[in-house]
Subunit: 270 residues, 2 copies
Amino acid sequence: MLKRTVFFVSESTGITAETLGHSLISQFEKTVEFTTIYKPYINTAEKAQELVDRFNRLYQEQGYAPIVFATMAEPEIRVMLKRSSCLYIELFDTFIGPLSKELGVNPSGERGRSHGITNGDRYENRMSIINFAMTNDDGARLDKYDQADVILVGVSRSGKTPTCLYLAMHFGLRAANYPLTEEDFEQNKLPDVLLKHRQKLIALTIDPMRLSRIREERRPGSRYASLHRCQSEVRQALQYFTRHQLTVIDTTSYSIEEISSRIMNTIRTA
Amino acid sequence: MLKRTVFFVSESTGITAETLGHSLISQFEKTVEFTTIYKPYINTAEKAQELVDRFNRLYQEQGYAPIVFATMAEPEIRVMLKRSSCLYIELFDTFIGPLSKELGVNPSGERGRSHGITNGDRYENRMSIINFAMTNDDGARLDKYDQADVILVGVSRSGKTPTCLYLAMHFGLRAANYPLTEEDFEQNKLPDVLLKHRQKLIALTIDPMRLSRIREERRPGSRYASLHRCQSEVRQALQYFTRHQLTVIDTTSYSIEEISSRIMNTIRTA
């Protein structure tokens, strides 16, 4: 198998370089084995020179140039890296030119604004949104549902918690969740506290076989994890969801990002 | 002020398009007011045609073409969007060509792999990592520290919880955190359970003024939020950190992404 070394480089967090870079190399993973190295905060000529030396050394040792995904604002550092023995792929600046031309406006040159703190209020607001997801997890605080942007409802281990956290962290949504338990199934209806906020509810469902496997890991051999119990819970939950015409998302074969963006898509009907 | 409409379009989650697109337009925000619209899951010709009609309509109404940031694998849909009245910026495919040439390998054409579930195990592993951060928050389960990749230590509200969640969600790290409390300060030392895992510890500190402001929001007028108490806690915590030569990160003016990538940078010394 081919082997190549990949660097994600930035003068800031490098999160864009890492995310998009990983996504790009995943297109070649069947034939190439990649070693990935993460290098954020390359913000001085000294640090850049160290990297240049490393690239040149790797090229000599391996006979192949390392592949460098970068978001580098500083032109001098960019030139240093570009001139070394590497395939330099600039993920940010590539697009600034065309965009600037279309808008007829020069870029501000300030970088990292999407991830930096532009002002304290925004940071505190974000903290409070993440706290909201933490303290409203697992039906812990039913009295706060009027403050929620969205309330996820589903059986235990259907994916509510990580989805809420992702919605909070990435999309800035106040996300609460409510786990349907045996008690709710005995009542044969969704609890009133949920129905009061029906327009905020989004239901998660999951394949019972998969649910059983996930629960089995948590409590091996338990009734809670048994296929029979999982099948019965999922079936009853789906009946509730249909009765109240909730939007239902099947989490069985989706990642947290996919579930979250599906939820965003149903909310932002813009 | 100039006004422009921006779309983030993808046949999948569109998270790459949204993240990088936002970062790009932030360079022009001082002079242009952007309205942003998120359009994931454009995966049929019908959905694409709806968008094309919308772009054309917007162009007629506003006199300016909407700006479209896209990660679109399907060539036919890409062509449809490109031919409409918009500035079409393809964030993914732009780089696939040069990469493919350098590697001498054709891309697999499978998309969304970075965010999709490639196999069940990986998904369950990720869930378990996020659960680890949730259940090991706020010093809740000291007995699990041997399983942690990293343990954040700091006073209450110094940024431990959201950082742990981000480390778990984005970097797949098992992250626990321990809040230093009055009890720890009375003992005049870090608790033994932490010292046992000294090599995993990363310390967070924060400006006392800012800390007081953050705590004030949580418990207004409390002793907990008083500047005096915040100053004393931060000072004592820093003494402990210095005594045990811990890596200290000041969270005062950094975002969660920045704090997390600094932590990754100290851990992955590759």
